[in-house]
């Protein structure tokens, strides 16, 4: 299935400065895998060392949070939009 992954501004630097990437995948996990294979630097920003999605990064298929679907196993359909939504805080240098 062709799906579109929307890359949030803070992570674009690690994804060839692209706003979105079109990929072929059957599940969310496959899509993210394809994405991090293409842009290896993204991997450490999305996944912790134990291989789990970082807890300040949420992934949505269309408008649903995959934590409340089948997580990585969530199936995607042609034309679905996968959004990566990291937490952002604002101005302070921390």
């Amino acid at each position: 299935m062709a799906v579109k992954v929307i890359i949030p501004t803070p992570l674009r630097a690690y994804a060839g400065k692209q706003e979105s990437v079109e990929l072929q995948a059957g599940t969310v996990g496959e899509a993210l895998n394809a994405l991090t294979t293409k842009f290896s630097e993204l991997k450490k920003h999305l996944y912790a060392d134990d291989g789990r999605l970082r807890s300040f990064v949420n992934v949505y298929v269309n408008d649903e949070d995959i934590r409340y679907l089948q997580k990585d196993q969530t199936r995607v359909r042609e034309g679905d939009i996968i959004s990566i939504v990291p937490s952002i805080a604002g101005g302070a240098r921390i």
């Binding site: 501004t9 807890s55 949070d65 937490s87 805080a89 101005g91 240098r93």
Partner: protein, 397 residues
């Protein structure tokens, strides 16, 4: 901690019913003629008590619109002073306010805009020790802060006190807005159980922010606050509004209350405020000054050696748009391109890498040393320190 506050004592219980004066009727007439607000809504606004945490980019439009709309009591929390870099977006302040405490300048501006309302000022950093005390007198909390520890603190305190928390945050061209902590609705920890470790997510101070972005996001927070106060419309509860100013696109995602949430879930484990700096992995007051072990050179040493005519190769590892702001005439290879373009460098020469503050150049030197460039040095403090110590004509940004 020295907490300077300017809170007028709350009126005694059994206070007279809120009414509008003849002048107030005229002032708020554009609200009064709308049935969705009307006299009933306007009186609710007058009776409303809203706490704005932060008077910066988000707090500016928020404070202005709440004051203009006639919110009867507005609390402001901030401990910062106005600096020149704030003025690009923090429209509460004027150039003449530079150096003044934000809280003072903000309160003056809001009082000038609407003398009929009460402005409470808390010139303090919100902490676990004072948050519950400060928040408890208000009906609605608005989070216009700029850092993760305070955001988790505001969230937890709001949940513990059962108050809605109108959340907004921004980065470069993107904003997020939602209402946390409403009855039955999710909280910040339902959305993000944990903050990112320091350094992994760039801040606005590093990444920049479009000046009007906090204006838009703060104005949306103001709209949500006014709706909550008058009890009308569909608040952003359980919905995360994403805004991209560059694409000029709004999107909406569903937010769910997490039954396992440590603060608002079925079996909460966080039942009082904690140490939020520790929770966010921050030790000490300041951000960890990137502990590097790479060899460094100070701006003064560099200047002396250049004046002596030493053969030094200056490598600028910033981005091209930064080079346009100011430069030391170095060879530009952005840090992200360094591994690909390393062949442009001569390992027999002494290389002095620099960036804006010294963080990226330290990474660059670490990489270069591993790649066999044994004579690579990092300019300590970057171009900022160069401006301070060697050449004040070089602008700081």
């Amino acid at each position: 901690m020295a907490t300077k506050t300017g809170v007028t004592p709350a009126p005694p219980a059994g206070n007279p019913p809120v009414t509008l004066s003849k002048e107030e009727v005229l002032r708020y007439s554009r609200h009064l003629i709308m049935p969705e607000v009307g006299m009933e809504g306007q009186l609710k606004l007058k009776a409303a008590k809203v706490l704005c945490i932060g008077t910066g980019g988000l707090g500016a439009p928020l404070g202005l619109y709440l004051a203009a709309a006639g919110v009867g009591r507005i609390g402001l929390v901030d401990f910062d002073s106005v600096d020149l870099t704030n003025l690009q977006r923090q429209i509460l302040f004027s150039t003449t306010d530079v150096g003044r405490p934000k809280i003072e300048a903000a309160a003056d501006r809001l009082r000038a805009m609407n003398p009929d309302i009460q402005i409470d000022t808390f010139e303090t950093q919100l902490t676990s020790a004072n948050a519950l005390e400060i928040l408890k007198d208000y009906d609605i909390i608005v989070d216009g802060t700029d850092n993760f520890p305070t955001r988790y603190l505001v969230n937890d305190a709001s949940v513990l006190l059962g108050k809605p928390n109108v959340y907004g945050s921004i980065f470069r061209f993107e904003g997020q807005v939602t209402v946390f902590g409403a009855p039955g609705g999710p909280c910040y920890r339902c959305l993000y159980p944990e903050p990112p470790p320091p350094g992994l997510v760039p801040s606005c101070a590093e990444g920049g922010v479009l000046g009007v972005l906090p204006g838009i996001v703060g104005a949306i927070q103001a709209a949500e606050t006014l709706k909550l106060a008058i009890g009308k419309g569909e608040p952003l509860i359980g919905r995360l509004l994403l805004f991209d100013a560059l694409a000029m696109r709004f999107r909406e995602l569903k937010l769910r209350k997490n039954p396992g949430c440590p603060v608002c879930g079925e079996h909460p484990t966080v039942t009082k405020l904690i140490d939020y700096a520790e929770f966010c992995g921050i030790r000490g007051e300041e951000a960890p000054a990137a502990q590097t072990n790479v060899p460094e050179i100070t701006p003064r040493e560099l200047k002396a050696r250049l004046d002596r005519g030493d053969d030094l190769f200056i490598l600028d590892v910033r981005e091209p748009h930064e080079y346009q702001i100011c430069n030391l005439g170095g060879h530009l290879i952005p840090l992200g391109d360094l591994s690909r373009r390393v062949s442009e460098l001569d390992s027999s020469r002494e290389i002095v890498a620099h960036c804006r503050s010294g963080k990226r150049s330290a990474e660059a030197v670490e990489f270069l040393r591993q790649a066999g460039f044994r004579k690579a040095l990092s300019l300590k403090g970057g171009i900022l320190a160069w401006s301070d110590e060697v050449d004040p004509k070089v602008p700081k940004y």
